[in-house]
């Protein structure tokens, strides 16, 4: 079952990486980059390093997304294109 989980999550992560590059909307790109970090944390857990999994879950998915959003908010102030 574990190899199946790795292959499934890996396919989704690579698809999310391409999506993060080719999405037109910057907000959608940021959400896709957040998905990569979220699933990477499960990969770390399977690889036997829960410390790294916890750090990645908190920093990669939470704070990095928020910092990108703050920067996007400052840049896009006054415009409402998606």
């Amino acid at each position: 079952m574990i190899p199946g989980i790795i292959i499934g999550l890996g396919v989704i992560m690579i698809a999310a990486a391409f999506a993060a590059i080719y999405f037109k909307s910057l907000l959608a790109s940021i959400i896709a980059a957040g998905v990569i970090s979220l699933l990477a944390s499960v990969i770390y857990l399977i690889l036997g390093s829960p410390d790294v999994a916890m750090t990645e879950a908190s920093i990669g998915s939470g704070l990095t997304t928020v910092i990108f959003l703050f920067a996007l908010h400052r840049v896009r102030k006054g415009k409402s294109d998606d």
Partner: protein, 226 residues
């Protein structure tokens, strides 16, 4: 045209660098000598159940000190670049649901963060993770309440005090025991208790406070409050 060729060549070069790593990959069966020493020393000499914690705090303690310094420099850099621009804040006030929920949740998030960094030697947590959880509690406060004011002098005081105490414990280890950042200045205690493993929980709690205040400072600066 020439740009595309350069991009293609660099991607091919990158693949050529990593190809031998895939084709000649052999899964190791046993730990190497250094890792064996770390695992044995962490369990039998330092009394720390989580080996990763003892590698970060003790065996590679200088790396962690350098890393905290880099984080401090990044905080200073962000604060210097974005100083004095308070007009970019999100002005619309939060809904009543979010405000009420967050006023209950923030205290529980703080308690969870403190749990994570004080149990760093027993569970997968640690100073960095606990610091991030504390910073996320302040972030929730910032998101839910538009009028929230962060007291910057308290934040800077906590940050500099924890950094000072971190270096102070390191120098105490240099004077009293075998080396810089040695955790043996406190008694080792029973294996698996909260108050055990010498000074490792103290050092990791200080790292947690420092990381938490630095990340809160980065978030507050980037979020637009002056």
């Amino acid at each position: 045209m020439i740009k595309k060729v350069v991009v293609l060549l660099s991607i091919i070069g990158l693949i050529a660098i990593f190809m031998p790593m895939i084709t000649q990959f052999q899964e190791r069966e046993n730990l190497n000598e250094l890792a064996t020493d770390y695992v044995n020393g962490s369990i039998h000499e330092l009394g720390t159940p989580n080996v990763v914690t003892s590698v970060i705090v003790t065996y590679r303690g200088l790396d962690t000190l350098g890393e905290v310094t880099v984080l401090f420099l990044a905080t200073v850099g962000v604060g210097f670049l974005l100083k004095g621009k308070s007009e970019d804040k999100i002005e619309i006030s939060a809904s009543e649901l979010l405000e009420t929920t967050s006023s209950v949740l923030v205290a529980m998030i703080m308690v969870l963060g403190i749990y994570i960094f004080t149990h760093g030697h027993l569970t997968p947590g640690g100073g960095f993770q606990g610091g991030v959880v504390i910073a996320s509690g302040f972030l929730l406060m910032l998101l839910s309440n538009v009028n929230a004011k962060m007291n910057h002098s308290i934040m800077h005081f906590v940050e500099s005090l924890s950094g000072f105490a971190y270096v102070g414990i390191g120098v105490t280890g240099l004077v009293l025991t075998v080396g810089f950042l040695s955790p043996k200045i406190l008694p080792l205690g029973n294996f698996g208790d909260l108050f055990s493993a010498g000074a490792i929980p103290v050092i990791y709690s200080l790292v947690g406070l420092k990381v938490g205040s630095e990340l809160t400072s980065i978030l507050v600066t980037m979020g637009g409050e002056k």
